[in-house]
């Protein structure tokens, strides 16, 4: 049955995405570890981590697209789930440092010693075990999303209102994680990691392995997401995106559908964060900044809202652009990003893949995909235009 579920989502586009990911998973390790350093085909470990970072963002974008593209929930707080997943992994990595910290305390992380804490807070217990941390990477963002969504969807907060309170959520978390007495390292966050699963986190092999793990997580999540979307549940989601009350009147409890997608999406975002942290070596409260959540939205918009492959494409492209600009023309980066927001919303409402789809549809013999409808999201419209 599970197999059928995954097969259901496998269309041509999914095949292309999975094939590219598979190639990456094989080629990158080979090019990094076995191709000699002087060869033009050699990849530096730095590049591998950079690629890994892009793919983590791609996973975040995928998660966001699941709720925005398919349920019409524009989350401006998805970076919060990403960051929480990251913190869960960071806590595991902190505890792996053991007595090698500056203060040499075998149990307490350095920042706790520095704050004069005597023992580990209860919520740090268990994070020395990888399996526990891995579980928390899913459970904590999932539980937070579930609780938040349960209240929000039940009371029918929709459209812009929902966006704004997701923003408030991440902002509240930002403030909270800045506090030293929260026990997450305050301003500095968690860093100076040493090992992961007993392997040196700086070693080439570990970095490549982390990259491969990221590719695998992305591929797996992609398969889950496309399976969900191809299922009847996915059709309900798309239906409620455009006409939620109509879906209710044919007997679907739309709240629980949204809650399902929302929670699943938060779990994916958590995994993305968990893979991100060991590859960049730090997690701090700035990941919660409202701006990071909104930036993630533009990745999806650039690639094409409502197309899973588009979300991945958008995240990778925009972040490559960001790496280039912040290195070469830092002054211009915000202009470029800002311009991107404006141009995409004005001229590319369906993103790059949508554009490609439109071109492709002009060719004969292709069936049209059920993409984003022309009809505008009626709930959002109600919230905005008629709010007087």
């Amino acid at each position: 049955m599970l197999l059928r579920f995954f097969l259901m989502g496998l269309d041509r586009k999914a095949g292309i995405v999975l094939a590219i990911l598979a190639i990456l998973a094989v080629a990158v390790p080979v090019m990094t570890l076995w191709v000699p350093a002087d060869s033009p085909f050699h990849l530096s470990v730095f590049t591998v981590s950079l690629l890994g970072k892009y793919l983590c963002f791609a996973l975040l974008a995928l998660a966001l697209d699941l709720v925005w593209g398919y349920c019409g929930i524009l989350s401006l707080g998805h970076a919060a789930f990403f960051a929480i997943g990251g913190y869960a992994m960071g806590m595991y990595l902190m505890r792996q440092i053991g007595p090698r910290g500056v203060y040499g305390n075998p149990v307490l992380p350095d920042f706790m010693v520095f704050l004069n804490w005597k023992e580990l807070p209860w919520y740090w217990l268990g994070f020395d075990q990888f399996w526990f941390a891995a579980l928390m990477v899913l459970v904590v963002p999932g539980a937070l999303a579930f609780a938040f969504g349960w209240f929000a969807f039940r009371s029918r907060v929709t459209g812009v209102y929902l966006s704004i309170i997701t923003q408030a959520l991440t902002f509240a978390l930002l403030l909270a994680f800045f506090r030293n007495d929260m026990g997450f390292g305050g301003n500095n966050g968690l860093t100076d990691f040493k090992d992961i699963l007993g392997h040196d986190i700086q070693a080439d092999g570990t970095r490549v392995a982390l990259f491969v793990a990221t590719v695998a997580a992305l591929a797996f999540s992609y398969m889950i997401a496309s399976g969900v979307i191809a299922s009847k549940l996915g059709k309900v989601l798309v239906a409620l995106r455009d006409a939620e009350s109509r879906v209710r009147f044919i007997g679907y409890d739309t709240e629980s559908y949204k809650l399902f997608a929302w929670t699943l999406s938060a779990c994916m975002a958590g995994v993305a964060g968990a893979l991100y942290v060991p590859q960049v070596g730090i997690i701090n409260p700035s990941e919660f900044a409202p701006a990071s959540s909104i930036e993630a939205v533009i990745w999806v918009a650039v690639g094409g809202r409502g197309t899973l492959a588009g979300a991945i494409l958008g995240a990778v492209l925009v972040n490559m652009g960001k790496s280039y600009f912040t290195g070469a023309l830092p002054e211009l980066w915000l202009f470029a990003l800002g311009g991107l927001f404006v141009l995409v919303t004005l001229f590319l409402p369906k993103g790059l893949l949508g554009l490609w789809g439109q071109l492709a549809a002009k060719l004969p013999g292709r069936r049209k995909q059920p993409g984003l409808s022309e009809a505008r999201n009626s709930d959002a419209q109600a919230a905005g235009q008629k709010g007087m």
Partner: protein
């Protein structure tokens, strides 16, 4: 009349919006298998009555019972729909990004919980049922078309088809023939008549030829309450109805 043997029982239902009484002490009874036409001037509260039955609007006062026992004023929309009350809106709303087939599949009577739909695989009976509805609504040729691309009349039909797929005990149909050609109107009347008997139907309509074609009991609504009830001929003769609605 006792509520037990009724399908739908409204008693003393009132709704007001910012002080404006949209429904005023409305009482109405529907028997199983009955078909009823509701007419009334614009703003009489016909759509609001449907809103109240389907849980979209909560009444300020009054009782609404389904099958003599279930209190509809406490339930949410989805729960009411699952009891077997289907609704067609005044403005046709179909799921535009989906194909005609998918629209019907979504509406088709089947378990509605998320985990059930996640693992749902269409079976032979469901397929046959959809084919049947496609045939009834004359949409068979358009099964793979996106619903957003249908004409207005086709959308009306698709929506009626979705109602049929739901297989409800009670159908609430709000102005089904608005914007239809005469031929389409006639076909719709036929269709509705053919399903009455197995289902109870409440039709709201302005089009008098259509109401006449249905040939059922008529309730006239005005200013939120029932003005007259009876056959079309008897209510058209009613002096009050003529004053408030039909005009001279």
């Amino acid at each position: 009349m006792s509520a037990d043997s009724t399908l739908l029982y409204l008693d003393g239902v009132s709704v007001s919006f910012d002080g404006f009484r949209a429904l005023n002490n409305l009482s109405l009874v529907m028997l199983p298998g009955e078909m009823r036409a509701i007419i009334g001037p614009n703003g009489a509260g016909k759509t609001t009555m449907m809103d109240v039955i389907t849980g979209k609007t909560r009444p300020d006062r009054g009782t609404i019972l389904f099958e003599g026992r279930t209190d509809l004023t406490r339930l949410r929309e989805a729960a009411i729909a699952n009891l077997g009350i289907g609704r067609k809106f005044q403005r046709p709303t179909v799921f535009e990004p989906h194909t005609v087939w998918d629209n019907l599949e979504l509406a088709l009577k089947a378990p509605r919980r998320p985990l059930k739909t996640l693992t749902y695989a269409i079976n032979g009976t469901d397929r046959d049922r959809i084919e049947e509805i496609l045939a009834i609504t004359r949409l068979s040729a358009l099964r793979d078309r996106q619903a957003g691309g249908l004409s207005h009349g086709q959308k009306q039909w698709l929506e009626i088809g979705m109602l049929l797929a739901q297989d409800p005990k009670l159908l609430l149909v709000d102005e089904p023939v608005a914007g239809m050609t005469d031929a389409e109107t006639e076909q719709t009347a036929e269709l509705l008549c053919s399903i009455a008997g197995r289902h109870s139907v409440i039709v709201v309509e302005h089009d008098m030829t259509f109401v006449r074609a249905l040939g059922v009991k008529v309730t006239v609504l005005a200013e939120g309450s029932v003005l007259a009830e009876g056959s079309l001929d008897s209510v058209s003769a009613n002096a009050q109805v003529i004053d408030t609605y039909l005009g001279r």
